[in-house]
Amino acid sequence: MMQQQCRRDGGRAEARPPTLPSAPGSFVSPHPTVGRQLLKLVPTVQRGPGLWALFLNPLPCCRPLCYEQSERRLHKSLQMKMEEMSLSGLDNSKLEAIAQEIYADLVEDSCLGFCFEVHRAVKCGYFFLDDTDPDSMKDFEIVDQPGLDIFGQVFNQWKSKECVCPNCSRSIAASRFAPHLEKCLGMGRNSSRIANRRIANSNNMNKSESDQEDNDDINDNDWSYGSEKKAKKRKSDKNPNSPRRSKSLKHKNGFSVCTSASNTLPLLFSSSGELSNSDPFKYNNSTGISYETLGPEELRSLLTTQCGVISEHTKKMCTRSLRCPQHTDEQRRAVRIYFLGPSAVLPEVESSLDNDSFDMTDSQALISRLQWDGSSDLSPSDSGSSKTSENQGWGLGTNSSESRKTKKKKSHLSLVGTASGLGSNKKKKPKPPAPPTPSIYDDIN
C-alpha cells in the first residue's frame, strides 16, 4: 500500500488492466492482474463515498490523503471514458484498426496451436506416418479429371456391360444379372416359390384330368389369334409371383376365366404343354387338336372328355372341358354328330354334375338343344347378324325332332356363325336367350 502513491499517470498506468498475452492453444488464463487489483481494493472498502468508482476503475491509491485526488482522477477517468466511447462511435478507422488487430491475434493463435500440434506429432512419431514410398503415392493419387471420380473410375461404367452367365452361358445385362442368376441356379426365394407352384399345379393337373372343372382353366388352348398367344406367352415370363395370378386362379367360374385368362395363361400354357406331351392324341403346336389325324376311337374318347368344337380359324378342336364357355353345347353336339354320326349324344346330358359355367337350368338347356336343329338355311359367315340367325335358329327348331339329320357343312358353318354370337351373349348375360324363345316363336309363327 505504501508503494502505491497517488501519481497522475502512475495510478492510471497501473489501473489499466494489461492486455492478455496470446495464449498458446485454446487455453485462456484469467486476467492475472484484475484479481490482484480487486484484492487491493478490500482495505479501501471502508473509505469514503467515492469508493463506488474504485470498482469501475480500481485505483491503487487508497490513502486518505489522496482522497480528493482520487476523486478528481475518478472524474477525469470517467470523462475520458465518455470521450472514448464517443470517439469509438465516430472513429471508424480506429475501429477498423482494432478489428484488424483482433483478427491478427486470432490467426496467430491458430498458427501457434498448429505448431504445437505438429511438434507433438513429431515427438510422438506419428507425423510422417501417412507418407509411403513414392510409387504407392503415385498409384493412389487423387484423380481430378472430368467424367471420372477421384479413384479414376468411369461413372456408370457397369450399366451397359454384359456378363456371361456361368450356368446357361448367356450374356445378361449387368443390372439384371443377379435376378437372372437367382433363377438360373434355382436358389433364392423366388425360384423356390415358382418351383413349388409348378409342382403343385402339375399335381393338380394329374389329378384333374378326369375332373372337368379344372380343365376349364388349364386347357384353354383354343385361341383364335396367334399374336394373342405369343403376347400371352410372353406375359408368362414376367411375374410368376404377382398376386393377380393367385387371384385369377381362384376364379373357376367359366365366365371369369375368359376375362382373366391372360393371367392364368402362363400356367395353362405350361400345364398344357405337359398335357400335350403325355396325351396320346396327336397335337400340332400344342395348341389344339387336328382332327384329321385322329382315328374314330380316339375321336370318341376325346369327345367324351373335351369340348371338341372346331374353331373356324385354326380348324382345330377345342381342348377345353365339356363345359367350356367359348362354345355352346349345341356346337359340341354338332361336332359330335359330325364326327360320330347322328346318334352321338353330348356327354353332358349323361353327366349333369355341376352347372357352374352356365346359369341355365337343365330344362332350358334341353329346350335350347332341341330347338337348335336345322339351321341349314342360314348364312353362316354372318357373325354380325348373329341375332337374326339365332332367332331363325330358334324358330326353325320347331321341327327339331324331324330334322335331326342336318347337313354336315351347314351345321358346321352355322355352328361357327352362331357360336360367336351366342358366345358373346353368354359373356354378357348368364342366361342366353332361353327366356325370349317363346316370344320369338310367336313372332316367327
Binding site: D9, A13, P18, L20, L87, L95, I102, L106, L112
Partner: protein
Amino acid sequence: MVVSKMNKDAQMRAAINQKLIETGERELLKELLRAKLIECGWKDQLKAHCKEVIKEKVLEHVTVDDLVPEITPKGRALVPESVKKELLQRIRTFLAQHASL
C-alpha cells in the same frame, strides 16, 4: 498528450478485449476461424509445408521454437481472402454492438 492518446487507445483496446472475452465472443471467433481454415485446406497446406521444413532441418528433436518462426508467417499468408473477410465482418459487428457500453 500523445501519451494520453496512446493510453486512450490502449485503454480502449483493452476494454474491447475484455469485452470480447467476457461475452465469449473471442472463443466463438477462434472456433469459427479454426473450422474455416480446416475447410478451406489451409491446415493441409501448412502441414505439407511443415513436413518440408522438418525434413530440411533434419534435427533430432525439433522444438516449438524452431517451428514457430518458420510456420507462422507462412500461415498468416496462406489464409484465404474469404475467410479473412468473414472474420473481420464478425469482429466489426461485435464492435458495433458493444462499442457503446
